[in-house]
């Protein structure tokens, strides 16, 4: 008698974030029905009120850790997950909300909220990997949905995901784009930024703003030098490195060098 194979279970978790990366799963309009057939979506609050207690074969985690409660919650998620993959800049680097890491969070609270005493938050926004072991990190603000499908498929099959770690520059060359920095003098983070977007910004005549975070071993000093040569002031260099992956190394260290 044939053994009926159990479908792998998938869970999707949200911490401090904009929902955009988990939305990317629902944005796979052509593949979603197939995905529902291939996996058992066991926990996905944004999509269904049917929630299973776990354990889960694969957990996708969106968002960063910014509260004491979430420090506890992510440990529980890890405990109940066989494999844990973080998706997006918040989960992999702390996200835009990690800009608090460079300031006094009490000042931030008092700017936004009339009653600061009601707010419970940590002084920093940190990536998931600062709290629990992570099996794979998928970068991007937001992530690329084709890469998300690749990662989910790879984990369910049990192979390594194919996600290139080279720079956006390589993607530009593959696309045949004219270099916006060389040809137009437009400041661009492409030389130090992780691939994955398909060189989107240069394809739309603007410089890359680094939403996929740092590539493997980027030469930050060389890029900062080039930016200065183009006339980008120190304050604007800091701004360029401090956006959606501000707390990621080496963006964080390089921005500090120019923050005077």
């Amino acid at each position: 008698m044939p053994v009926k194979l159990r479908k792998p279970t998938l869970a999707v978790w949200k911490f401090a974030s904009c929902d955009g990366c988990q939305l990317s799963l629902l944005d796979c309009e052509d593949e979603l029905v197939g995905l529902i057939g291939a996996v058992d979506i066991a926990y996905f609050l944004e999509a269904s009120s049917a929630l299973q207690p776990g354990p889960y074969d694969l957990s996708l985690v969106e968002g960063s850790i910014t509260t004491a409660h979430d420090v506890t919650r992510i440990k529980e998620v890890r405990r109940r997950s066989r494999q844990l993959v973080t998706i997006g800049a918040c989960a992999t680097a702390g996200g835009i909300q990690a800009l608090r890491n460079f300031k006094d969070v009490r000042e931030f609270i008092s700017i936004v909220y009339a009653r600061p005493d009601y707010i419970e938050t940590l002084a920093t926004s940190t990536p998931i990997s600062a709290h629990v072991a992570v099996d794979f990190e998928l970068h991007g603000c937001p992530i690329n949905k084709a890469q998300l499908l690749e990662v989910v498929s790879a984990f369910l099959i049990g192979r390594n995901p194919i996600v290139p770690a080279h720079s956006v520059c390589i993607e530009c060359k593959l696309k045949g784009n004219v270099c916006v920095m060389v040809a137009h003098g437009t400041p661009c983070l492409g030389p130090v930024t992780h691939a994955g977007c398909g060189a989107l910004c240069p394809s739309y005549d603007r410089g890359c703003y680094g939403c996929f975070g740092p590539m493997e071993s980027p030469n930050m000093t060389a890029l900062s030098h080039e930016l200065s040569e183009l006339g980008v002031g120190e304050r604007d260099i800091v701004r360029l490195y401090r956006t959606f992956n501000a707390a990621a190394e080496p963006f964080s260290t390089e921005s500090a060098k120019h923050d005077r």
Binding site: C18, Y113, E120
Partner: protein, 429 residues
């Protein structure tokens, strides 16, 4: 049996994470609280010190479902300050990308989040088992909206092509033409959606809302217009803060928007529809008539029909804009920075979205304030719960819990957006 507390610990099928708590004493609903436990992210704080040109890329990150709305309100606020007017094809392109966002956001809510309530499913995954073609239709409709955003903005979530003054790069006529074919199919699917949604069973619930929405003279609102209400407000968008305030109320730790000296109000599809019915396209008005929906709808459950009509309208309007599109000479108008304060409102899929920025002479943001639709609607959501639950008190806790959740989902609340302004809940036992 007369004292009950109904808790929904994790609200499903809403964007972001929230919970619900209803207290019943002596057979009467005492409190109904929509609790927000999304951690705050402090956008208004870290916008200080940023360059004005970075703002649309940053505010997009408030919400992955309606990033275009956050980009649009921010650029209009800054353009109001700089004295820039963006007309002709650039204005049309902004309207067009907004059409795309309404289509994808509404289709997501209609098919994946809201319809399962009316059909008795836990979610779209269960619905897909019995009605695969219906889910497929919804996904293709959503995809048409996303393709529109991706073409104009570069990608669906957090588009990269919007800037103060216009765009970085504008599409060619022929790029838009290929999209027109898909949008014609989407318009058909949207009309089917209107008929499908209108056939659901709706609970009786007639609410006397004060509707608040933008209302321009000769078009259905996206990017501009005066703020009007069904009870007589008629003000410029820049005067929002003079007429609306955010206050603490005793039963909740959340900031709630209210009309100054007045009460709760409703923003979003029901409000836009009631205040702008005659500005819908003839086809959309005809569709409303066909399904028996009058020019004003007071039943929050029927918001799914109104959302479907808005998707239909957005497809129709997108086709009109594409048909008339002529490539502009430049992708953006010249921007001259000026110090001062600029405000603007646009119509996010979930309703009125107000932004204000104070900027210095070199274009640095000194202060920012953002009021999203969900924080405006929160008092109305709670009022709805209090009023409607009184009629459901005979139900078991489980059924009542489901009813409450559905009531909240009528609003398509986006908790990720609202949380930047809402208090974390403190449980008072």
């Amino acid at each position: 049996m007369t004292d009950r507390t109904i808790r929904v610990e994790n609200l499903a099928r809403v964007e972001g994470e929230g919970a619900l708590r209803v207290t019943i004493r002596d057979g009467v609903v005492k409190t109904a609280e929509l609790k927000i436990f999304e951690p705050p992210r402090f956008f208004e704080a870290f916008l200080r010190g940023r360059a004005y040109r970075e703002v649309p890329d940053i505010t997009a990150r408030i919400c992955g479902i309606c990033p275009v709305a956050y980009q649009m309100s921010s650029i209009h606020a800054m353009e109001a300050l700089f004295g820039i007017s963006v007309d002709g094809p650039l204005r049309d392109l902004r309207r067009l990308i907004y059409c795309g966002e309404w289509i994808e956001s509404h289709a997501l809510h209609i098919y994946l989040l809201h319809a399962p309530d009316f059909l008795g499913y836990d979610g779209a995954t269960d619905m897909a088992r019995d009605h695969p073609q219906i889910l497929e239709r919804g996904l293709q409709l959503k995809k048409a909206g996303n393709e529109l955003i991706a073409l104009l903005g570069g990608r669906e979530v957090h588009p990269i092509n919007v800037r103060v003054g216009g765009f970085y790069k504008v599409p060619r006529r022929r790029d838009l033409a290929t999209l027109a074919e898909r949008l014609k199919h989407a318009r058909d699917a949207a009309l089917e959606t209107v008929y499908w949604a209108a056939g659901f069973d709706f609970p009786d619930c007639d609410r006397d809302y004060e509707f608040v929405a933008l209302s321009p003279p000769d078009e259905y609102p996206f990017n501009e217009g005066r703020i009007k209400s069904s009870k007589g407000i008629d003000i410029a968008a820049r005067d929002f803060e003079e007429h609306f305030e955010e206050v603490h109320v005793a039963h909740s730790t959340a900031l709630h928007a209210r009309i100054r000296g007045g009460g709760a109000y409703l923003a979003g599809p029901l409000a836009r529809y009631a205040l702008n019915f005659e500005r819908l396209s003839p086809l959309a008005r005809e569709a409303a008539q066909e399904v028996g929906l009058g020019p004003i709808c007071h039943n929050p459950y029927q918001s799914i029909i109104v959302r479907s009509l808005e998707v239909f309208y957005a497809c129709d309007e997108a086709l009109r804009l594409i048909e008339n599109y002529e490539e502009p000479d430049k992708p953006a108008v010249e921007v001259t920075v000026r110090a001062g304060i600029g405000q603007a409102c646009t119509e996010a899929p979930r309703g009125l979205l107000y932004h204000r920025y104070e900027i210095d002479a070199d274009g640095t943001i000194l202060d920012a304030r953002i009021v999203p639709p969900t924080s405006q609607n929160q008092p109305s959501i709670e009022e709805d719960l209090k009023i409607c639950i009184n009629g459901w008190l005979d139900l078991s806790d489980d059924l009542l819990r489901r009813k409450c959740e559905q009531m909240v989902r009528n609003y398509d609340p986006c908790i990720s957006c609202a949380t930047h302004f809402l208090k974390l809940e403190i449980d008072r036992g």
